[in-house]
């Protein structure tokens, strides 16, 4: 692997610069152009996302060249690991923008700031993936979180939305506090905030500095909060339920992946020497996260809330792979997060379409008979739910397959067993929706009052992209695996 060293290499942050420019552009358009252009803000931001995507792949050198570029005094790392995560974020952002456009119009929400904030959040996530230094990492996390707090409360007229934003904000601030405290402790015991320097220092001065260990504990808490791991998951259901549906889709994919990206970078690259220390902690957290997420999801009637708990459970699966930190482990993390982005955003796209103005129709009973009224939506929803449940031939199945085989290979058989039992449990609540769609008659009253779902072209495109992703990840896994493996190599 070739290493290119330079103090400031602007090409390393081209994608972030582009996204910033586009979000500023949207804010300016919002302020200075006539309201009739407002439909185009979404497309403008989409162009920004695509441009950033191109630069992520091409700059500073091609993805397949396997180079690692350090820039800004080692604060910024562009390796394939970071790039793969950026691809996931941008994918999630693009899909979210597609499913948001019509939603914003129907809910009479403001356009400009919405897309600007989504882009800001994306920039934050990308910074988290590329940060080679803890302060930068912290700023990226804050940028992401702040934008998300606001987005969660974007529908101000709805109480639940306000509540979600406030809760998310207060609890998130605590997590931020823990993160800062952790960084401070690590700085205090190693004298540096650069992740590589921390690794060097830990290697040099031995392992058992309690300050360092404590800092690590704080980092676990902070990342655990952002990735919604049990027991730091309490905010998830309320926030997911209260936030506008497209934002819930967004939050469940990108930020979660970003938390894992930073988590893995700090712990694999900065603190690998301490792996023995945190193995059991992660073990317990993974087991708890999977189990509690799935078990509570069983009794949810609100489909957004159900998917919130399911997303907790999925974070647990990812954590299993994270623990099996071999080559297979990290590649399966990447693989799973990519799959998860497709399937979860796909499912939320359909929820968005069906929820109706003000989102009254988000309960499982609202899906009764959908298979007959809207076969397209029902088929797509079933596909995504099957994938979430891990039924072949979908990407979700392959992802779980890789994760559990990684876990077994690294000797975490107990955890793999818990994971498999959990995915069996999860089939119950995913299929409940499918059963409602295909095997239950809609009650006539509901049918009469039900608003027609809103399938805008952009939303349909998003559903198609997601479905394509889910299926191709399930049917042709090997090409993705090859890319994922290349991305993993960077994190050595």
């Amino acid at each position: 692997m070739e290493q290119v060293m330079s103090t400031i290499n602007l090409s390393a942050i081209y994608p972030e610069i582009i996204l910033t420019c586009f979000s500023l552009l949207i804010l300016l358009m919002q302020s200075f152009s006539t309201p009739r252009f407002k439909e185009y803000y979404g497309y403008v931001s989409l162009v920004g996302v695509l441009a950033a995507l191109a630069f992520v792949v091409m700059e500073p050198s091609s993805f397949f060249a396997q180079t690692v570029v350090y820039s800004f005094n080692d604060m910024w790392v562009v390796d394939n690991y970071a790039r793969f995560f950026k691809l996931i974020f941008l994918l999630g952002t693009g899909l979210t923008i597609l499913i948001s456009m019509k939603y914003l119009e129907d809910e009479a929400m403001q356009y400009g700031e919405y897309f600007a904030l989504i882009l800001f959040a994306t920039i934050g996530m990308m910074i988290m993936a590329s940060a080679g230094e803890l302060i930068t990492l912290f700023l990226g996390l804050e940028l992401m979180s702040l934008s998300l707090y606001v987005l969660a409360g974007y529908t101000r007229v709805r109480m639940v939305s306000n509540e979600a934003a406030l809760k998310y904000f207060i609890l998130g601030s605590f997590a931020t506090g823990f993160l800062l405290y952790g960084i401070a402790l690590i700085y205090g015991s190693t004298g540096t905030t650069s992740i590589r320097a921390v690794a060097a220092s830990v290697g040099k001065y031995g392992l058992y500095s309690p300050g360092l260990v404590m800092g690590m504990a704080m980092l676990v808490v902070a990342f655990g909060f952002k990735a919604a791991l049990v027991p730091f998951h309490m905010w998830t259901p309320d926030v997911y339920e209260g936030a506008p549906a497209p934002i819930t889709a967004f939050m469940s994919a990108g930020p979660k992946a970003a938390a894992f990206a930073a988590f893995a970078r700090v712990f694999m690259e900065g603190l690998p020497a301490l792996q023995m220390e945190w193995t059991w902690l992660i073990w317990i957290m993974a087991a708890l996260t999977m189990t509690i997420g799935n078990v509570i999801a069983l009794v949810q009637d609100n489909i957004k809330r159900m998917l919130a708990y399911s997303s907790i459970a999925h974070a647990g699966y990812v954590l299993v792979a994270f623990l099996a930190a071999g080559e297979l482990g990290i590649s399966s993390v990447l693989y799973y997060l990519l799959t998860y982005t497709f399937m979860n955003i796909g499912a939320f796209a359909i929820i968005t379409a069906l929820s109706g103005r003000g989102e009254p129709r988000v309960f499982v009973r609202d899906y009764q008979g959908l298979g007959f009224q809207h076969p397209f939506a029902a088929v797509a929803m079933s596909l995504f739910l099957f994938s979430l449940a891990g039924i072949p031939p979908t990407g979700g199945f392959m992802g779980k397959f890789y994760i559990f085989s990684a876990a077994v290979k690294e000797g975490y058989i107990g955890l793999a067993v818990i994971g498999v039992v959990n995915s069996v449990v999860s089939v119950y609540y995913y299929l409940r929706v499918t059963v409602a769609m295909y095997m239950e008659e809609p009650s006539s009253v509901r049918e009469a009052e039900a608003a027609a779902p809103i399938f805008s072209p952009a939303l349909v495109i998003a559903i198609f992209i997601s479905a394509y992703g889910v299926l191709s990840l399930g049917l042709f896994p090997s090409s993705y695996v090859a890319i994922v493996k290349q991305s993993f190599l960077a994190l050595q």
Binding site: P231, A297, L298
Partner: protein, 665 residues
């Protein structure tokens, strides 16, 4: 995607095998309500496949070594499951057969299925079949072969049960599916055994290892026998042969394509695919030979007793498949494959011809067709006679050459009893095919003026489908007059010619194919000719055999003529004088009844009972309990999960404490 365009062979292969899939998807998703468009899409896809298959054949005809493309479809550490293409003479030939017959049948169906309410669905399933069959044919590994083998079975199930509103059609579909599955269980077990014992399911690797005796012989015998179960199921060999006649419930073009020419031949194809592997186990070969022979004889007798035109060809298919298995199992690789090729041609021809009669007279009964004036449909009549001649092995039709090849192999076999069985089979084959021909050609009471009643009498017992057909006919505005026994061909316009052209093409193929025996032999055996040297060598020393075989065929025809053809013949056949035997034949030797008894007693009475109890008590009870438990605990947890902010914070801080405690201790 650029890798795709670098290699035209690969591009052609991908196009060839995946276009039908694409067309199925497009039809099912988009054009379900535009039948005409659906059929064009499907035919377009399959004709492109045909062109690609031809291109591949021409391009690779002189390549000595098999060409293999494979990509790892699934990589899970040390398990790598490949997916790809294997081109060798056998797969190229079979690919072409499948493409040609699929194409012809789809064109033919434009006429036959016109106006059917499920027209789009029909073409979607046809595409599904073409896709699955082609991908099965070019599979480089047994697992891919197995996957598409099952998909082909699915397509067969869907097409047999195409008229799902008809109860018997649904039943027949189910029967076909279940019976073939029975064999597939053995197949799958064989594969598992092979993976465990040998570790590689690549076809080339298996064959080479078997030839080099790198696999222990007991393993070869065991897995070969298990895999042969798959052949038994798919190619309707004894004792799982009864599903095929029932499968005739599907539309006739489907019977032509799936249940005579290609799909049922998949078993034989698989046999020849891993022929060296089978050949390494004399025991397995002997058992296969026995089963092939029994199948051939039994089904020939069944064919003599039925009056249903499609049933005759169905039994004949079964017997010819048995004949192929005999040829292969006796060591005649080329002979078996050659017969498969020629049989695909003339049997598709026979079915398609019968389809015209059925379409025209709305009856499957050959007596009705004869009375209705079947002989007036000149093109189908001539074509069908050609097909029957080929089936009986009369010179110069293609069947003659391939049958001779198999006879030659059987003659070379030390035990002559197989040869005798083969000759007996040839006699019966000629008898039953010409029994049918003569019954249509020379109906008992030739009364061309009043076919009306006969036709309509039989219509009463028929149902919806045929009404649909009538509507279709009316819709096409063609002078479809059931009553007029003359001038059919002129008045039918497109619909008729859609059906006629495939017949003519297939007849031509049947006429000329036999003369390509030697070039085909060179192509198939190629460099391996010395390995199988002397095969099919019924040359100089075997004139006696030649004469014997042909005279058997001619004797059969003469016998049929005596009983059915000549003026004043009783048209009852010798079986009518032997009621017991006739009942035995007509009831398929009671195989069905036996299987049913066996299933009732052994499976339903014994095993199922135990399993049902186990299901109810242990599994259901267990799962119910588990569900109650999890849902209960879910309630508990979600109670704990209150939305109160302070409480959330408290839990979080407590968790932080626990985490710190963990690290410290």
């Amino acid at each position: 995607m650029s890798w795709l365009f670098k290699d035209p062979v690969l591009l052609a292969a991908v196009l060839c095998t995946w276009l039908p899939f694409l067309s199925m998807a497009v039809i099912l998703i988009f054009t379900r309500h535009k039948p005409q468009l659906s059929s064009y899409i499907s035919i377009g896809a399959v004709s492109t496949s045909l062109i690609c298959a031809l291109y591949l054949l021409i391009k690779l005809v002189h390549v000595g070594e098999p060409v293999e493309y494979r990509t790892a479809w699934l990589i899970a550490d040390d398990i790598i499951i490949p997916f790809g293409y294997l081109f060798d003479p056998l797969s190229l030939l079979m690919l072409l057969i499948v493409a040609v017959i699929s194409f012809l049948v789809q064109v033919y169906s434009l006429g036959y299925m016109a106006g059917d309410p499920g027209f789009s669905r029909y073409y979607a399933f046809q595409s599904l079949f073409a896709w699955a069959m082609m991908d099965m044919v070019i599979a480089p590994g047994m697992l891919q072969l197995y996957i598409f083998w099952e998909l082909v079975g699915l397509a067969s199930y869907l097409l047999i049960g195409f008229y799902y509103e008809k109860w018997s059609a649904g039943q027949a579909g189910k029967k076909a599916f279940v019976m073939t599955r029975l064999g597939d269980i053995g197949f799958f077990l064989g594969l598992i055994l092979l993976v465990l014992g040998f570790g590689d399911l690549g076809i080339v690797a298996m064959n080479e290892a078997a030839q080099a005796q790198a696999i222990p012989s007991y393993l070869i015998t065991a897995s070969a026998l298990l895999i042969f179960c798959g052949v038994i199921g798919k190619s309707a060999q004894f004792p799982l042969l009864t599903w095929l006649p029932d499968a005739m419930e599907g539309p006739t073009p489907v019977s032509a394509l799936l249940h005579s020419a290609t799909m049922v031949a998949a078993g034989v194809y698989m046999f020849s695919r891993i022929f060296p592997f089978f050949a390494a186990s004399p025991t397995a070969m002997a058992i296969a030979l026995a089963i092939g022979t029994i199948t051939m004889l039994l089904s020939s007798t069944m064919a003599m007793a039925t009056y249903d035109i499609k049933q005759v060809w169905a039994y004949s298919t079964v017997s010819q498949l048995g004949f192929m298995v005999m040829g292969l199992a006796a060591g005649g690789y080329f002979a078996g494959v050659f017969h498969l090729t020629t049989h695909a041609g003339f049997k598709a021809l026979l079915f398609l011809c019968s389809g015209v009669f059925i379409h025209e007279y709305h009856s499957n009964d050959m007596r009705d067709i004869g009375k209705g004036g079947g002989r007036s449909l000149k093109i189908p009549m001539v074509c069908m006679t050609v097909g029957a001649l080929a089936l009986s092995g009369v010179f110069p039709f293609s069947g003659f050459f391939s049958k001779e090849a198999i006879m030659g192999v059987l003659a070379a076999y030390p035990n002559k009893i197989w040869l005798l069985a083969g000759l007996l089979g040839a006699l019966m084959t000629a008898y039953y095919s010409f029994r049918l021909i003569f019954m249509i050609l020379f109906p008992k009471k030739v009364d061309a003026t009043m076919p009306h009643d006969a036709v309509h009498y039989h219509q009463e017992k028929d149902d919806k489908i045929q009404i649909d057909h009538e509507e279709a006919a009316a819709g096409h505005g063609a002078a479809h007059g059931h009553g007029s026994s003359h001038g059919h061909e002129e008045g039918h316009g497109n619909v008729f010619w859609y059906m006629a052209w495939p017949l003519i093409i297939l007849t031509t193929i049947t006429l000329v194919l036999g003369f390509f025996q030697h070039s085909l032999e060179g192509f198939l055996l190629g460099h391996a000719a010395d390995a199988h040297g002397g095969e099919g060598g019924h040359g100089a020393g075997h004139y006696a055999l030649l004469i014997a075989a042909v005279s058997m065929g001619l004797a059969g025809i003469a016998w049929a003529y005596y009983e059915f053809g000549r003026k004043g013949a009783s048209q009852e056949g010798f079986l009518a004088r032997l009621p017991k035997t006739q009942a035995l034949f007509a009831n398929r030797w009671y195989i069905d009844r036996f299987l049913r008894r066996f299933l009732d007693r052994a499976i339903y009475g014994g095993l199922t009972n135990v399993f049902t109890r186990n299901d109810r008590r242990v599994i259901d009870g267990g799962i119910d309990g588990f569900c109650l438990f999890t849902i209960g605990s879910g309630r508990l947890f979600s109670f704990l999960q209150s939305g109160m902010l302070q409480y959330n914070l408290l839990v979080m801080v407590a968790a932080v404490g626990l985490v710190v405690l963990y690290f410290v201790v």
